[in-house]
């Protein structure tokens, strides 16, 4: 019996080649896309879930209620971790975590490395398997360091290096450490990344900050004892917070902050390890959002849905051709069940082939997909039993749902009715129309999403940020020389070059540079009886000139003597609420008053999702710089870049030059948006192509079903235009309806998304009309060719068939 089914199925599919190939092409594309997107989403969702103790590990966030609203931060003071362990019950293990870059030296080799400074518990808390060396307590010695395999290869050229000495550049001087263990390379789904791990106590800032609760510069991860919940721990940490942060809490109260719903001004909150990757501290609260991976999954499902709708619609439309077969089989004794099974097995066949091709396609395009969307998925994700079983399950379920519906319709038909070859078509047409509206609705939704996303990205790229981003190159000071000295040297070297306009430095980058690291510092100090908070930036001479910032009052730093003054921005001036901010003196350190030298026009030093915050510039050589900024002349920019690279090589022969123009840096900060936009764009392209394939097949069938009608109309005297209009009208109505349904949904979703940005485009009607116009034009083109051909055909031919 099954053989017979397959035979009939096969012959049917072969006979109707156009439809079958349209179906298989559509479904395989959809499956390939869905598989790739699904893998990307699952990859995202699997972040940090490789830690064996992950369920009881948390990152500590400190939240506080400031007069301006809630504030949250992951930076903690050095004494917090030991104090928590000693005073609050429930801590099993705890580690501080300070990420940094360093230079590692071995023999003549000098390599830039990512280092983390952590506590002894680090390797017993987190699952970074030790492959070589001290497995139990790799960091029990203060001078011990752990290297990843890759780092060991990079520096030593081998992994057989236990007990060897490596020198690390610590605060400008080389310090020897002993390699105590080698870990496996860190999987890409890890938030915690490092090449070298060293003891927190060996960090140069540890000694001065050991007892300093005000200086917050690292993260803390805690593993709770079995049976202790995060909520219980947060509760029992309250009196601890009240005790240790007493001073800060009193200041918050004094400045007029209002407590949260629990009557608290300051709290420690635990973010589960599994959520850390998805956590943002927007608006001062801890927000965990997995919307990105789910959005990707959603797009994958939408595309599958569209392809499935095509399949359903084509099967239903095609069933008219098979009525005779259905009737005949029934007279020969076929039961509903058997007919259902027959038609379903045909679908199963098509789906099996499509999934097979889909898997192949996804493997073929895997590498393109990886580079295009910056994801680290691999083919191995498909070859595990769970993936294979779920693919098979998906195939059965989808073919059951998608193939089952037409199969059910067909098996239900009355014997006589189907033998006569007539179909009561009213019911199934509604289903078809609803499905097509859905399909086009999704396509239009995705088009609008694409347009708005790119609109916002273009807006952010082109927005005037208040500083010169086109002509300025920034690069990390990643060599061994003292940072201020090296900027001075650089300035001397480049002096006299007509293409170099000015050279300066600062302790943080603008945008995201090639080194991929970002940092920001904040300070809070007392001013006239209340706490004022500001961003904190250490700059070198000519920073304002180099970046083309505009002074609205006062002056720039002029000489070394100005190192006791500050330059602030307008937001900071507003914060101080002085009529003439130039008269204010800021008591940054106890007893040291910094006069305000100048006020800058506000500029966007943060990403555009944030409004401009107060910022204060300092020009002290005590704090060091981390980035150099060089303004070049607008002509010969590429040549100037090469000059910079050569000069840097000369000054720091072992360091890599990681310079990039600030506009590139700014572009890098919305890499995530670009990836999303690319994904949605390709999603909507595929959605449109698939929808149109469905529409095309549909128009073929409708035209062939209505051949007689067209013939009669022509004989009676209808023109080609009016017939084309009649044939097109029904479909266009559906597309219009889809547009009307999709637009409000798109408006709502995109408005929500744009709320994430402090600087955003207006969600004008233009986006919607453009999307509607695109959809309608494409639909028209798809149906048009066929219908015009049908309308122009000689009526005698179409009527002769009867």
């Amino acid at each position: 019996m099954i053989k017979n089914y397959l035979k009939v199925a096969w012959r049917n599919l072969i006979k109707d080649r156009t439809n079958t190939s349209l179906n298989i092409i559509g479904l395989s594309t959809a499956f390939a896309v869905a598989i790739l997107l699904g893998m990307a989403a699952l990859y995202q969702l699997s972040f940090d879930n490789f830690h064996e103790n992950g369920a009881s590990i948390y990152k500590i966030v400190r939240t506080q209620q400031t007069p301006k609203g809630p504030d949250a931060g992951t930076s903690q003071p050095a004494p917090l971790a030991p104090a928590l362990e000693a005073e609050v019950p429930g801590v099993k293990q705890i580690t501080r975590y300070l990420q940094d870059g360093t230079l590692a030296f071995y023999n003549d080799k000098e390599v830039d490395m990512d280092i983390v400074w952590v506590d002894q518990d680090f390797f017993s808390m987190f699952s970074f398997p030790i492959s070589n060396g001290n497995e139990t307590e790799p960091l029990n010695d203060l001078n011990g360091v752990v290297l990843t395999k890759k780092a060991a290869d990079k520096l030593f050229g081998s992994t057989d290096i236990i007990g060897k000495t490596v020198n690390l550049l610590v605060n400008g001087t080389q310090k020897p450490f002993t390699v105590s263990a080698i870990t496996d390379d860190i999987v890409p789904q890890s938030t915690l990344e490092f090449e070298i791990a060293a003891r927190f106590e060996s960090h140069w800032e540890y000694f001065e900050n050991k007892e300093e609760w005000d200086s917050q510069y690292h993260n803390v991860y805690v593993e709770l004892e079995d049976g202790v919940t995060a909520a219980a721990f947060e509760n029992s940490s309250r009196s601890f917070v009240d005790l240790h942060y007493n001073e800060g809490i009193e200041m918050l109260k004094r400045d007029g902050a209002s407590p949260d719903s629990h009557g608290r001004f300051m709290d420690l909150k635990l973010v589960p390890m599994a959520d850390v990757h998805f956590t943002s501290l927007k608006n001062g609260t801890v927000q965990i959002s997995r919307s990105m991976p789910y959005l990707i999954l959603g797009v994958a499902f939408l595309i599958l849905f569209i392809a499935c709708v095509n399949y359903i619609n084509m099967s239903i439309a095609k069933s008219a051709k098979r009525l005779k077969e259905i009737g005949m089989r029934k007279t020969l004794g076929a039961q509903k069940k058997q007919l259902f099974f027959q038609f379903w097995s045909e679908s199963l066949f098509v789906f099996a082939v499509s999934i097979g091709i889909g898997v192949l396609l996804s493997l073929v395009f895997l590498n393109e997909f990886k580079t295009m969307f910056n994801t680290h998925i691999s083919a191995e994700m498909l070859w595990n039993p769970i993936a294979i079983i779920s693919l098979l399950g998906m195939m059965l379920t989808i073919s059951m749902l998608v193939g089952g519906y037409p199969a059910m319709l067909m098996s239900r038909l009355g014997t006589i009715q189907s033998l006569k070859g007539k179909l009561e078509s009213t019911g199934s047409n509604t289903v078809r129309d609803v499905l097509m509206v859905f399909q086009f609705g999704i396509a239009i939704l995705l088009i609008i999403g694409t347009l708005v996303l790119w609109g916002q990205i273009e807006y952010m790229r082109n927005k005037d940020l208040g500083y010169d981003k086109e002509q300025v190159v920034s690069f990390p000071l990643n060599g061994k020389r003292n940072s201020n000295d090296v900027v001075d040297l650089l300035r001397d070297e480049l002096r006299g070059n007509p293409d170099i306009i000015s050279v300066s430095g600062a302790d943080s980058n603008l945008g995201l540079g090639k080194d991929g690291s970002r940092s920001s510092s904040k300070i809070g100090f007392e001013y006239k009886g209340r706490v004022v908070r500001s961003n904190f930036l250490v700059v070198d001479h000519e920073y304002i000139k180099t970046l083309g910032l505009e002074l609205v009052a006062g002056r720039d730093f002029e000489s070394a003597a100005d190192s006791l003054g500050v330059v602030i921005n307008e937001s900071m001036a507003k914060e101080l609420a002085e009529e003439d901010p130039l008269t204010a003196q800021l008591e940054i350190e106890d007893g040291v008053y910094y006069p305000i030298l100048g006020v800058l026009k506000d500029y966007n030093f943060n990403d555009l999702d944030k409004a401009i915050e107060p910022i204060t510039f300092f020009m002290s050589r005590d704090w060091g710089l981390t980035y150099a900024y060089v303004k070049v002349a607008p002509n010969n920019m590429a040549a100037s870049y090469d000059v910079l690279e050569r000069t840097w090589k000369k000054l720091e022969p072992n360091a890599t030059f990681l310079g990039s123009f600030l506009d590139e840096n700014v572009d890098r900060t919305f890499k995530r948006e670009k990836t999303t936009a690319k994904m949605i764009t390709s999603g909507s392209l595929i959605a449109i192509v698939l929808s149109c394939m469905g529409l095309f097949a549909m128009s073929l069938l409708i035209v062939s079903q209505r051949t007689k009608e067209i013939g009669i109309r022509k004989v009676v005297g209808a023109s080609v235009t009016s017939i084309t209009y009649i044939l097109t009208k029904d479909f266009l109505k559906l597309v219009m309806l889809a547009f009307l349904i999709a637009s409000p949904i798109a408006w709502f979703v995109m408005r929500q998304w744009l709320q994430n940005y402090a600087y955003r485009i207006d969600l004008g009607a233009g986006f919607f009309f453009a999307a509607g116009a695109i959809a309608i034009t494409i639909a028209l083109l798809t149906i048009g060719t066929r219908t015009i051909k049908a309308a122009r055909a000689n009526p005698v031919k179409s009527l002769r068939n009867d």
Binding site: N4, K330, L332, G333, K336, I416, L419
Partner: protein
């Protein structure tokens, strides 16, 4: 007795009015009969045949087939009943275009769950009997109308039914072809004792039967 119809009514509602397709039909058919149903277009001939073949339902009355009361059976039992005992022959043959002659003949056997070897033997036997062995791998479209109907009859006969229902079996054939088919029916009826009920317009074909039933507007006359 093979089957018995008692006071069968069948109607459709059209524009608020009942239009009767069959009106008070009483009919008894003995095994071995060859009945011709005649009447003008729209008199209910095909409807009667479909009701007898259990392909169509009726609204009132009783229908007994081999001591089973068809009107009380569920669809599944009904289809078991007719696939066991009834073979159908249609005016337009209704062979499946996608299957070869051989496969078309095999199909009823598939629904009766015969084993593969049995099926082969029965199909081979039937091909032999109808002299169409040479055509077994052709598709219906490659055969003439007469040949197609021959296959149609062979298919109806393959599972040894007690009753053959033929709805204008020669309607699409030329006179020579129809004579061949009618001779075949006669032979089946006389030599093998198969009961046949045929619907026909032609007096000549009706004459092959042992009894003629005339219908007019759904009534027996």
């Amino acid at each position: 007795m093979l089957l018995q119809l008692k006071n069968i009514f069948k109607w459709v509602n059209s524009g608020g009015q009942r239009v009767f397709l069959l009106k008070d039909i009483n009919l008894e058919v003995e095994e071995g009969e060859f009945i011709s149903v005649m009447g003008p277009s729209g008199s209910g001939k095909s409807t009667l045949l479909n009701v007898i073949g259990m392909l169509d339902t009726f609204d009132e009355g009783e229908y007994n087939f081999l001591d089973e009361s068809v009107h009380t059976l569920k669809e599944k039992h009904r289809s078991n009943l007719y696939k066991e005992y009834i073979g159908f022959v249609f005016q337009s043959y209704h062979l499946l275009d996608d299957l070869t002659v051989q496969e078309n003949l095999e199909m009823p056997l598939l629904y009766k769950k015969f084993k593969g070897s049995e099926r082969k033997a029965m199909v081979a036997d039937m091909l032999d009997r109808f002299n169409i062995v040479g055509k077994k791998d052709l598709f219906p479209a490659q055969l003439s109308g007469g040949q197609q109907q021959l296959v149609g009859v062979a298919r109806a006969l393959i599972a040894n039914p007690k009753l053959i229902l033929a709805d204008e079996p020669t309607g699409n054939l030329n006179s020579q072809q129809s004579e061949e088919i009618m001779e075949l029916f006669k032979k089946l009826n006389q030599e093998e004792g198969v009961t046949i009920i045929q619907v026909t317009h032609s007096e000549k074909n009706a004459a092959y039967g042992s009894r003629i039933i005339n219908l007019l507007d759904g009534r027996k006359v």
